[in-house]
């Protein structure tokens, strides 16, 4: 059954249809949120909140966009609210998993330092630029999709990506 059929079934009262949608989207959606907020527990809470919002909102969903776009736009708005409210993130979290301990100590330190600087620089980007960059690079979404999810046009999403890349290069270059 495709998403539209599952939504119809859910509207008729089938909770199993909603469980199918959860099964299909929960992992990719949670991983997208995880890559944005960089904290697995926070990503879990946000993702679950998104599915609860979707459960409540699905009877009113008009299918002007795909279910995936609608669900991700809820997720990104919830993530944006979360990022606005939370304390500055510990960007050093989970560095171990990305840096190879077998590497020579000097190389490893350089790599860690560069990663920290990169994460800090991404953290300081305006939210729309940050989300556009992350959705474009991590999720490989096209600009039309990004615009539908975070608002604005494809053109403005391109500008956001360009500005994010330019700012990051400037910040990382200036501290070298």
């Amino acid at each position: 059954m495709n998403d539209a059929d599952l939504i119809k079934e859910f509207r008729k009262g089938s909770t199993e249809a909603f469980s199918e949608l959860v099964k299909k989207y929960s992992r990719p959606l949670t991983m997208t949120i995880f890559r944005i907020v960089r904290d697995a527990e926070e990503a879990k809470d946000i993702s679950q909140m998104v599915f609860l919002k979707a459960y409540e909102g699905l009877p009113r969903f008009v299918m002007a966009s795909s279910f995936k776009t609608w669900l991700y736009s809820i997720a990104l708005n919830t993530a944006k609210d979360h990022l606005r409210k939370r304390r500055p993130v510990q960007v050093a979290d989970a560095l171990d998993s990305l840096v190879d301990p077998a590497e020579p100590a000097g190389d490893r330190l350089d790599k860690e330092r560069n990663l920290l600087r990169l994460r800090e620089a991404i953290e300081t980007l305006p939210l729309k630029q940050r989300l556009t960059l992350q959705l474009r690079i991590y999720e490989e979404m096209d600009y039309e999709e990004i615009a539908k999810m975070i608002g604005g046009s494809a053109g403005s999403a391109r500008v956001n990506f360009f500005q994010a890349a330019k700012t990051l290069r400037e910040k990382l270059g200036s501290t070298k």
Binding site: S19, R38, Q48, F51, E56, R136, F162
Partner: protein, 185 residues
Amino acid sequence: MKRLDCSEAEKLIISDLDEGLDPKNKQFLESHLRGCASCMKMREEFRALFSSVAADVPPDPGEEFWRRYDSSLAAALREKETDAGWWGFRWKMVGVLFAAVLAIVAVFTSLHDWERPPITQKIAKQEGAEKLVIQELDDLYGPSSEDFLPTFQDSAVVTEAKISHGDDTVLDWFEVEDESSNLLL
């Protein structure tokens, strides 16, 4: 052919690394880069930047995480379903009660004798108002109302009847009759 300046080259470099350029713009950029070392360096920096961002992906949190995720989400959704069911039941109950109240009102309204014009109308239009009032009382209580006739013929009773409506006449009449009785005593 127009020469490309470095700020335009920056846009093209980002576009090229991001989505790729059409052949014309690609050729335009490459010819600029061949003669501009700083833009060439800029391209390498952007390339390194994008690959660093792409490489900094948090790993999958593992099966234990997903087990906890699935079980807590399932519990939260069950709670929502129960809430929705409970609220649905409550709204249904409110609907049933409302329908019952409407039905009761409808039954009582239909029992009211709308065909019978208010006694005051009869009094206003016709001669012999007292007789009409008595006839009205006979309709309600039978011939026994004649027992009250002497008192009822008091003009105060007729006045009272004139300002009354429909069935209320009976109550008003009794009140006046009681007062008259007291006066007679």
